[in-house]
């Protein structure tokens, strides 16, 4: 028997606010255009350099740096679609990236897992990805599955196995296209095509999207760029993700990091638009801080860079990934993690990035405590109910019931009370006796329950067989690649 996957729940836009004025946004965008035109971006990809040169960008072939005139940037970005769909297994799991919905996503890609049974930290493996996909399938606020950890039990094909574990264990959209050696990228396309049901269906409702990280400052990764062009040709949507770190790989000011990250992201999107006008692209600019004492990665700086990034994405006319994050910086599950998640959840509907969240990881996105996602999901539910879930129905004023009880009475025996008393979601971290429980213990119990009982509907047998064939071919191809 299979389990029913609940509908996904996006946040709406009723509470939306914007931080920057149009003049401030224009100033930032002007900075991006100036960086692209004067400083340029390194593209260590022959094909990318040729494409830029063909369209009038200035190419330094020796340094592999491209300088893109403002008009070329604007023309290319004008062909990027503002709205498109990331497909799920069924249409009810589709994500419509249109600026009116914010979908919550998992985070990726960590390398350590706190084992569900032994509670010891170990290296992540493919089964961890499958486990998280199954549990996330049961959590309605999770709309977008990014494999939270790597399939380290595989070599060069690890990203393909992560994609496979996602596609075969959840009906939701899977971010399965991570950077692979370019020879292996066609296998990602084949997997996505097999699950979508053909090349045409893949373009219409792609079940897989990709993500490519830029390299701060002002560089792209060669393999990522070659992957991006292959995926764009097939119709697989992709995000370009800048991760400028203030103080080390970026200026030590938020605006400096924002404008530089924007230039990196836009350079990738411009290339894709020049090659395949209209290809779906997503803007992601995640500013962090270098810890001044350790040099470590401080992901969640209490500065609204994520929200500004969303505005910048929308100013370019493309959807955004980011801006409202539940990402947790603390090394373990505790009050700090809870605070991060709670505040992060409340910001999701306020700033309206199309894909938000980053659920599941701690310790600078390195460590997976499986049960953390249960607590973060509760934070999302709480935020949703607070900001989105309230429906005004005049009948709910219950004036007749109040009149019937009158002064000095009580409502315990009212039929109206019995009808509505179950409408409320009780705090999850409490026992049947109503007393509070240790939140982590309660979350672990709920995670294990879902892990043991939730069995998403599988893909058809012929698709599963086709995925196995594709994976086996990719594994053979990767042998000897090191």
């Amino acid at each position: 028997m299979f389990s029913e996957t609940p509908d996904i729940v996006p946040f709406g836009t009723s509470s939306r606010r914007e931080l920057l004025t149009q003049t401030q946004l224009d100033t930032l965008q002007g900075g991006t255009l100036r960086l692209l035109d004067e400083v340029g971006v390194r593209f260590p990809s022959r094909r990318a350099l040729e494409l830029f040169a063909e369209h009038g960008a200035r190419v330094d072939w020796e340094e592999e740096i491209v300088r893109i005139p403002p008009d070329l940037v604007r023309d290319a970005m004008s062909t990027a679609p503002r709205s498109f769909v990331l497909g799920g297994r069924e249409e009810r799991f589709d994500l419509l990236l249109d600026g009116c919905h914010s979908y919550v996503a998992t985070d990726g890609t960590g390398v350590h897992v706190v084992d569900l049974e032994t509670r010891r930290i170990r290296a992540s493996c493919k089964e961890d990805v499958a486990m998280m996909a199954r549990v996330c399938d049961a959590l309605p606020m999770v709309s977008f599955f990014w494999p939270p950890v790597g399939a380290q039990d595989y070599g060069a094909t690890a990203p393909l196995h992560q994609c496979h574990a996602g596609l075969t264990n959840t009906l939701k959209h899977v971010r399965g296209g991570m950077t692979v050696p370019p020879r292996l990228a066609p296998y990602v396309v084949e997997m996505a095509t097999a699950v979508a049901g053909g090349a045409g269906a893949l373009r219409k409702r792609p079940p897989v999207c990709a993500n490519f990280c830029t390299i701060a400052p002002m560089s792209q990764d060669g393999d990522s760029i070659d992957n991006a062009l292959m995926y764009a040709e097939a119709g697989i949507p992709m995000s370009f993700m800048a991760m400028p770190t203030m103080g080390s790989t970026a200026p030590a000011t938020p605006l400096g990091a924002l404008v530089m990250g924007d230039a990196e992201v836009v350079s990738g999107m411009v290339l894709v638009q020049l090659a395949f006008p209209g290809a779906p692209v997503i803007h992601s600019n995640l500013v962090s801080l270098m810890h001044p004492r350790t040099g470590g990665y401080v992901a969640d700086v209490p500065i609204p860079t994520g929200w500004i990034s969303v505005q910048m994405a929308h100013a370019w006319g493309v959807p955004s990934l980011g801006g409202g994050s539940l990402s947790v910086g603390s090394p373990e599950v505790g009050w700090s993690a809870g605070l991060d998640s709670g505040i992060g959840a409340l910001t999701i509907p306020l700033y309206g990035g199309e894909i938000c969240g980053d659920l599941g990881l701690t310790g600078g996105s390195m460590i997976l405590y499986p049960e953390l996602i249960i607590l973060q999901h509760e934070a999302c539910c709480f935020a949703y109910e607070l900001l989105e879930g309230f429906e005004f129905d005049e009948a709910d004023m219950a004036l007749d019931v109040i009149a019937e009880v009158g002064p000095r009475g009580h409502f315990l025996s009212q039929k109206h009370t019995r009808k509505h008393i179950r409408d409320f979601r009780l705090p999850p971290a409490e026992g049947a006796d109503g007393l509070p429980r240790d939140p982590q213990e309660a979350a672990l119990e709920e995670f294990k329950r879902l892990h043991e009982t939730h069995r998403p509907r599988p893909l058809p047998d012929e698709v599963l067989a086709e995925l196995d064939r594709i994976l086996a071919a990719a594994d053979r191809e990767s042998e000897g690649m090191g």
């Binding site: 390398v111 350590h112 001044p292 350790t294 470590g296 600078g364 090191g482």
Partner: protein
């Protein structure tokens, strides 16, 4: 003693001051070993302690190391053929699939500033290249750096390759996503949480060797 001025220029991170100061000491006939040990290395020991005590931030540590390295470059021709020997040799690099080098460069400079010879292989270094360098330079320690979670498995492959080749060298790991547990799991001989920590670790491992 004007070696103090060299010492002080590192503590105060005055990159443009140090080269003439070192040259002046050489010209004055100050022993090379005094310039090196009391000036450059001695100052970096203090810088390392200040960083460990939380008094210095990473950018300040970096500039102090760069100041030391500038002075060392002036001194280097005099070290060749002298009786001053290195504390040992360290091969260092960022592992395959990873192009990040800020942390690796900082460690490299700090290790050099502690009196070791450093062979820096750069970024995106294949395990085979580490092995080749170890055979060529016979280091006491090989340092593997990674910033990307996706490139961490290359550390494991590198250690396995060294084990298969039965090369007698200590392998240490570091970088933002790495921790002691991961180092233990892949069989590394040590983990450095930051640049001064890497220097302390290397000194200890070399002493044990």
């Amino acid at each position: 003693m004007s070696v103090d001025a060299i010492f002080q220029s590192i503590l105060e991170r005055k990159r443009s001051d140090i080269a003439p100061l070192v040259q002046a000491e050489i010209d004055a006939g100050t022993e090379i070993s005094v310039i090196l040990n009391d000036g450059l290395i001695g100052a970096m020991d203090v810088v390392g302690r200040q960083f460990g005590d939380g008094l210095l931030f990473v950018p300040e540590l970096l500039v102090a190391a760069e100041t030391m390295k500038t002075g060392l470059e002036v001194l280097r021709p005099k070290l060749v053929g002298s009786e001053i020997t290195n504390r040992g040799t360290v091969v260092i690099g960022t592992v395959q699939g990873d192009l990040h080098d800020i942390g690796k460069n900082l460690v490299s400079m700090m290790v050099e500033g502690a009196g070791f010879a450093v062979v820096d292989l750069g970024v995106d270094v294949a395990p085979e290249r580490f092995l080749e360098a170890a055979r060529e330079h016979r280091p006491q320690v090989v340092g593997l750096s990674a910033l990307l979670t996706t490139s961490m498995p290359a550390m494991r492959r590198c250690i396995e390759l060294f084990e298969d080749a039965e090369i007698d060298v200590k392998i240490i790991v570091g970088g933002a996503p790495v921790n002691q547990e991961y180092a233990d799991e892949i069989g590394a001989d040590g983990y450095g949480s930051d640049a001064p920590g890497a220097v302390r670790l290397i000194k200890r491992l070399v002493t044990e060797t």
